[in-house]
């Protein structure tokens, strides 16, 4: 009791106010759909400043308890049914199965081009969530300012202004790095390809999470590498005991992991696990390629999650990322911090693609430094969290109760386990006929496991069409049960 009081005393004022209102909602005093008092009224009721009241409401919004409706004020959100279980730690199968991935991926990508299709497939944020106008203005300004430099090659390591901006941001990820240790790339995919090629040769084995992003599997297969799937927990990521047991058995040449919000799981590897992962691999001198594409899109109100590279003392971690999920997919700007493999990665980049486009780098550097990137990220995180909640709720309300679903800590996708006999590939085909794009589970494993799983992208804001699409999906699943 005393402890609780102490805790309350130490909490910021806005948080105390938010808690009080939260209790009213959770206790049923305020109910789903109710309008809650205006900010002005709340400030009077709780005897706090307007600013504090606003902060309290933002905190409630972040917790998914209330929502703002344009020009109408704040309302209590419909409660999500979170009694659904989560999927268990994966148990990847063994034995090779011929892959249908290229066709499936092509279908998924083709669907993104068609405005008549409901986008629950490709894991992209809707462009309306991104600062299009501002970025394009900054690009135009960069073009004017840069003069001839704007059309000249910007040879690897690439745009210095951008590398400086990244070095500053990396401090928030727990990484102290110099601009000279960073190489800009054409998106995160190029970075990962270059890192893998810098440390592996055809035939080598690469340990990955299971399930993991089909794009990573495709890269591994097309480089002639052998993926080794490690069981992965939907909330804490790669199972390190399993990894530790696998290392002496299989000769692993590199490890490719997405510690922050693995796609499709949305898992967040705890700090202790990140440190252990790095130490485990360092003992055997195995390079870790860390894909941090989603690191900026975390849902809680704390600090940005650290990367595994924060615990790297030996230069063995090659960190990759990009602005494709948070700012401008079509600008194609990413980066790598390849540690001790810097020279190899840079030479490879020179040989295989050369310079990264000049102007998009300049524009993004300007935006990150002067454009209000953190403000934008706050809004984007709120929006994506809400969208993930919306889809979760709709699925929980309409799908058969036996399903399981992840509770992602960040990112923009949900991983749904359907009843054992539902074939996700068939569901995918049927849904596409109904103009709904989803990603079937077998795409996320080299052996086409996860035949009764689907990944739902939450990149689109709620709309009646989306709600109907979930309804149709639920109907199709029930038919197949």
């Amino acid at each position: 009791m005393v402890k609780t009081l102490e805790q309350t005393a130490r909490e910021p004022l806005y948080s105390q106010v938010a808690n009080k209102i939260g209790q009213l909602i959770e206790g049923g005093v305020l109910r789903a759909g109710d309008r809650i008092p205006s900010v002005r009224r709340a400030s009077r009721q709780h005897k706090v400043s307007i600013t504090t009241a606003v902060q309290a409401y933002l905190a409630l919004e972040n917790r998914g308890l209330i929502e703002a409706r344009p020009k109408s004020g704040f309302f209590v959100r419909v409660q999500r049914h979170y009694d659904l279980g989560e999927p268990k730690t994966s148990r990847p199968s063994s034995g090779a199965v011929p892959t249908e991935s290229p066709t499936l991926i092509a279908k998924l990508l083709d669907a993104t081009m068609r405005p008549d299709i409901i986008q629950l497939g490709a894991g992209l944020p809707n462009a309306r969530l991104l600062p299009v106008q501002k970025l394009n203005r900054m690009l135009a300004a960069a073009a004017r300012r840069a003069g001839t430099a704007s059309i000249e090659y910007d040879m690897p390591p690439g745009c210095l202004a951008l590398r400086r901006a990244l070095a500053r941001r990396a401090l928030d990820w727990g990484v102290k790095i110099l601009p000279e240790e960073i190489i800009t790339t054409c998106g995160c995919t190029e970075a990962i390809v270059l890192c893998l090629r810098s440390v592996t040769r055809s035939g080598d084995t690469v340990a990955i999470e299971s399930p993991t992003y089909f794009g990573l599997i495709q890269i591994i297969e097309q480089l002639g590498l052998r993926p080794l799937e490690i069981p992965t927990h939907p909330r804490t990521g790669m199972d390190l005991d399993s990894l530790e047991r696998a290392l002496p058995v299989r000769r692993v040449t590199a490890c490719l992991v997405v510690p922050n919000f693995n796609n499709p799981l949305g898992s967040l590897m705890p700090v202790a696990n990140k440190a252990r992962l790095v130490a485990l691999l360092a003992k055997k001198e195995i390079p870790l390629i860390e894909d941090d594409l989603y690191g900026d899109v975390y849902f809680d109100n704390g600090d940005r999650p650290h990367v595994a590279k924060a615990y790297d003392k030996r230069g063995l971690v090659m960190l990759c990322g990009s602005f494709s999920k948070s700012l401008a997919p079509g600008y194609r700007v990413g980066w790598m911090m390849p540690g001790r493999y810097f020279e190899a990665a840079r030479n490879l980049k020179c040989a295989t693609i050369g310079a990264t486009p000049t102007l998009p780098q300049l524009a993004l550097a300007d935006y990150v430094v002067n454009g209000g990137y953190d403000h934008h990220l706050r809004g984007l995180r709120r929006a994506l969290k809400r969208q993930v909640n919306d889809i979760s709720r709709a699925v929980a309300e309409s799908f058969p109760e036996r399903i399981k679903m992840t509770r992602p800590a960040g990112g923009l996708v949900l991983w749904v386990e359907l009843p054992p006999h539902v074939d996700a590939l068939r569901l995918h085909s049927k849904a596409l006929t109904e103009k709904i794009s989803i990603a079937p589970g077998p795409m996320f494993s080299p052996r086409q496991d996860y035949r009764n799983f689907i990944r739902l992208s939450c990149g689109e804001p709620w709309s009646p069409q989306l709600e109907r699409a979930i309804g149709v999906l639920a109907y199709l699943v029930k038919q197949m049960c």
Copy 2:
């Protein structure tokens, strides 16, 4: 005699006027450095319109006989000493030599970033020759027009407007192709990597010209492929008899050729040879990867040279190109026309880099259709031809007489054969100490042949510094003889 008269009669009027003035120059009536009559006066003297007189002067300029000096009128150019011989058809050696290429390439690229260095190394046109302002304006306009599409992924095959523009231009190259058969890429290098990877596997043999662009050699080596060097003539390109003899002996999986202005030779494969090359390979079902990076930069006044793909009936030719030598290196936009390997190349692109940056494609599509690309190309070709002539003249006047030098038909580089005992790698080091960047011959062969050759880039317009740099190079060469 009659024949000559007939010829004269059939020639356009401006050409007749140009010939008359040309005879005055060649006969020594007008001498190097003399001011020639103004256009107005010439129109009176020769009884032709002002327009015709202007055309005549442009023709003389194109032939390298006169030059315009800003605000001063036209002057007779200093005559070039073309008594220098050309290098012979190459005879590539056999037996492997460890390669120093990565270091040399890095040095070459680093030099391009340093404004204090005289750029005779990297084969790039000076940005002042390119329509920077107009392109950047078009990029800004594209950003405004495209709205959210400007930051979204433009998935392979890429920007339709650009593919349409390319399909129209390809008619001038002798190729009838649909936009659906074209894939846009991040520059020509990506296109070549994707084409090679689509048709080869590690360990396969790829036939190439000798010498050839170090970037191509690097790609081949880094894909684990084996380069097979085919003797190449400095004016007519790859020796097809040699290729034909090599094919039954070595199992060649693909052939990578630059028929239009091979870099470093500037050779132009005659039409009959292009047809024969395609037929020769088709007989054995060997794909031809054709690099047409320099095809638009031809020096004579005739039509744009055809590509080998013009003679491809079986879809075996994979044509690659980009705007990096003619418009905007830093935009990183190229393309491939991979024939029957379209699907493989597209899937590979999706897996290894994904979309090409959106806005640079839109801007270039707009420029090519509405920006006056052909007008720009005419100016660029004239400028590069003049620059090649300037460097040729300076080298011929100052280097030892025993040297040999190519007479390129297009592109922007010269290939110089030094006396047998001059070590190009040593010359390269010494020159770099004097802040002059050149490309030493061994870079252009996987076995580091051409130890007494250098490539001089003619991308920079004439300047006193350039003239002095050639003087220093000549001095260094003489010291080493």
